[in-house]
């Protein structure tokens, strides 16, 4: 861990919306390369980066489209700078192929998706949480990556930094799954002193070029990177590859290559996953939520508690990988899980799978365009408590 470079850190107490806070998170995290394409409701992130980067030594470029943006981000990260792009649904769809390339080449980078209602052009200016499964499965093939879900402008700042740290540590694209409501909600954001912001540095190899294999994993299953232009003369490809990084297209290499990419995240879940727990000790019913829906759930839970219903809250700060172990443990002790989502049932499918029929799972759905009325969540708690 190293401390943040004060040049990018706007220490102080600010009044910012989530989009601007995320941009500041990137500046504080040491992100110095940004490539993006405007799309509501994420554009303010790019706009703030465009304003700030020339003042802090960053390079901002508005690309011709989102296909180009994510490709440039992968190139920028290989070039040695922490790199990021930001988008919303339609652009996220265009980025899918190269998010897969990022997974395959193991490129640290951050992609922010400020979710809006879909499908297609949908609701450009209104919130949804309906890209959650796309984040998990939208690129072709089997893969694992990390997706976080902030629920306040403060967290847009904090979790953007955290995303850079996770992406460097696990050499994987990290998605920050915001939504229009969080993106455009203005609140107090405290940016600490640079010395209080801890950053994960890229793990470059110390082996000399003759001994270095670009895709030979360390104990934590993550291979070390080599800097370009220093004699390593490595090759990297989106094709199935061996430890030398050379294409090797057969079933055995596929198993080894993809198997490790999955294990790298799955076997390290305990270290990666971050959840918030509230009132879980005596809970019969648990509201499981993420992002803006977790905030809307609070008054519902408080109201039910006041009425003596033993309801707890589990907030998924990390949505992917999913906290499977925790849900399996809880499922043995609680009667029901309730999940409010601004979609017609996405992450709840994973919740239900992990509950394995041992606890009832209820979805409180919403097609998007606005957040839940807390009463609907409260009603679901009451129903489950009957």
């Amino acid at each position: 861990m190293v401390q943040a470079d004060p040049v990018g850190v706007l220490t102080g107490t600010h009044y910012l919306d989530g989009d601007h806070a995320a941009a500041e998170g990137a500046c504080s995290a040491g992100c110095r390369f940004f490539a993006g394409y405007p799309i509501t409701p994420s554009t303010e992130v790019a706009e703030r980066v465009a304003l700030r980067f020339p003042l802090i030594g960053g390079t901002f470029i508005q690309m011709e489209d989102e296909l180009a943006s994510i490709a440039a981000v992968l190139g920028g990260s290989w070039g040695g700078l922490k790199s990021m792009t930001v988008t919303s649904g339609p652009g996220f769809s265009l980025m899918m192929e190269n998010i897969g390339l990022g997974v395959m080449m193991e490129v640290p980078c951050v992609v922010i998706n400020v979710q809006r209602g879909g499908p297609s052009t949908g609701l450009p200016t209104l919130p949804a949480q309906a890209d959650m499964m796309q984040a998990r499965w939208g690129s072709h093939g089997d893969y694992e990556l990390i997706a976080l879900s902030p629920n306040s402008p403060q967290e847009c700042f904090d979790l953007t930094i955290e995303s850079f740290n996770l992406s460097e540590q696990w050499r994987v694209p990290v998605l920050v799954m915001m939504d229009e409501c969080i993106g455009h909600m203005t609140e107090r954001v405290v940016i600490p002193e640079a010395g209080e912001i801890e950053l994960v540095e890229r793990r470059y190899t110390n082996l000399n070029p003759d001994d270095y294999l670009p895709y030979k994993p360390c104990e934590d299953l993550v291979p070390e990177m080599a800097p370009i232009g220093y004699g390593y003369r490595f090759h990297t490809t989106g094709l199935t590859h061996d430890e030398r990084g050379y294409p090797s297209m057969n079933a055995e290499t596929q198993q080894r290559c993809v198997g490790r990419l999955l294990d790298k995240i799955n076997l390290n879940r305990d270290e990666i996953i971050h959840v918030d727990k509230h009132y879980l000790d005596d809970a019969d019913i648990v509201v499981v939520s993420y992002g803006i829906s977790s905030r809307v759930a609070i008054p519902a839970v408080e109201k039910a508690r006041r009425e003596g219903i033993k309801v707890g809250e589990l907030r998924l700060v990390t949505v992917w990988p999913f906290p499977e172990k925790l849900i399996r443990e809880l499922a043995g002790n609680v009667k029901a899980f309730i999940m409010p989502e601004i979609n017609h049932g996405q992450v709840v499918l994973e919740l239900e799978r992990c509950a394995g029929g041992r606890a009832e799972t209820r979805l409180v759905k919403h097609a998007g365009g606005w957040v839940h009325d807390p009463e609907t969540i409260y009603e679901a708690i009451r129903e489950a408590a009957k």
Binding site: V2, V7, R32, F33, A35, F53, P54, L55, I56, G57, G58, T59, I61, M63, E64, D65, L67, A68, S69, A71, A72, V73, L74, G75, G76, S77, W78, G79, G80, L81, S83, E97, N98, L101, M105, E201, R202, Y204, T205, N206, L207, A226, P227, I228, G229, Y230, G231, Y232, R233, F234, H235, T236, T237, G238, L239, R244, Y246, P247
Partner: protein, 319 residues
């Protein structure tokens, strides 16, 4: 019939390939067919590298997908085999974060001009720092010979079984009108000229484009009954006309038509990085912080780096 069996002489040492410094000999044999034009262009590139005196550590090589897209996999430099069409924007990222290096994109016409066409014109417009080498074989070879945006009218492709009727792109015309700093076209037998162009272009900055008209012996030549790859190479060479001052109207290519080749553009125009740097310096004055490069970040965080590094940003570095 008497058949003399020739036994390989196992005692003979295989001489080192003259271009082995720049090639991944541990990946040979390569996948390209015999008499394919791609290998020749890679040979020219290796010669150009030698002529410039650049080390493989001074460059990156990036490809998209296709037969030509495999070039990145055979060049012994830091090399990136990306997705179909995205070699150029990927290289935009490399070039802006590592302005101290030379960046080369080596890919096919379908890759660069069809699926990647938008990136091509925008990178040329911004004069992004990279040398783009395109092997134009008038078809999508890797996937079996489908129609490309370069396929000449009446030439056959699997998806144009009755011959093409679409007007193809002339790639130099596209590059010139989008604003590229350097534009040349040769056929694959213009070995010395290709090498000279590559040598020259490697030493320039901004967006540089070299098109090489080359045969796809196995698919395009065969389907269109144009003889062997070698026949076709000779045909292209013999039917080419060198005209450095050609007007863009002369650059279209018909089926087995005359091909105008030459160096059409070689001008100094500030690259994207340089324009950005100068603009911000002018409008922001002291508030402007010149961009950090990936090299500076690497030098800061990498304990494997032993050389002492100069971390000051110069205009040259920023161009």
């Amino acid at each position: 019939m008497t058949v003399t069996e020739v036994k390989p002489d196992t005692t003979r040492k295989i001489p080192e390939h003259p271009k082995s410094l720049l090639l991944r000999m541990d990946r040979m044999p390569h996948i390209w067919c015999s008499r394919c034009g791609i290998g020749i262009t890679v040979g020219c590139f290796a010669s150009a590298m030698e002529k410039t005196g650049l080390s493989p550590d001074d460059i990156t090589v990036t490809s998209g997908i296709g037969c030509t897209g495999r070039v990145a996999g055979y060049v012994k430099a830091d090399s990136f085999h990306t997705t179909h069409g995205r070699a150029i924007p990927f290289t935009v990222g490399l070039a802006l974060t590592r302005p101290d290096l030379k960046h080369v994109v080596f890919s096919g016409d379908g890759d660069l001009i069809s699926i990647g066409g938008n990136h091509f014109i925008h990178a040329a417009r911004r004069n992004q720092n990279m040398l783009v080498i395109c092997v134009n074989n008038f078809t999508y070879a890797m996937t079996g010979g489908q129609l490309a945006p370069t396929t000449p009218v009446t030439a056959r492709a699997t998806t144009a079984p009755y011959g093409s009727f679409e007007r193809p792109f002339s790639l130099p015309t596209l590059a010139i009108s989008a604003g590229a700093s350097y534009v040349a076209r040769w056929t694959s037998l213009h070995i010395r000229r290709i090498t000279d162009s590559m040598t020259e272009a490697l030493q320039r900055r901004g967006f540089r484009f070299i098109e090489i008209i080359a045969p796809c012996s196995t698919i395009y030549a065969r389907r269109n009954k144009l003889g062997t790859g070698l026949d076709l190479m000779k045909y292209y060479y013999e039917n080419s006309v060198i005209d450095h001052n050609a007007s863009v109207d002369d650059l279209d290519i018909g089926f087995q038509s005359k091909i105008v080749v030459g160096k059409f553009v070689d001008k100094d125009r500030p690259s994207y990085g340089k324009s950005m740097h100068e603009h911000f310096r002018k409008v922001l004055g002291n508030k402007y912080q010149p961009p950090v490069s990936g090299k500076m970040e690497i030098d800061k965080s990498w304990s494997g780096c032993t050389e002492s590094q100069d971390t000051t940003v110069t205009d040259e570095v920023q161009s």
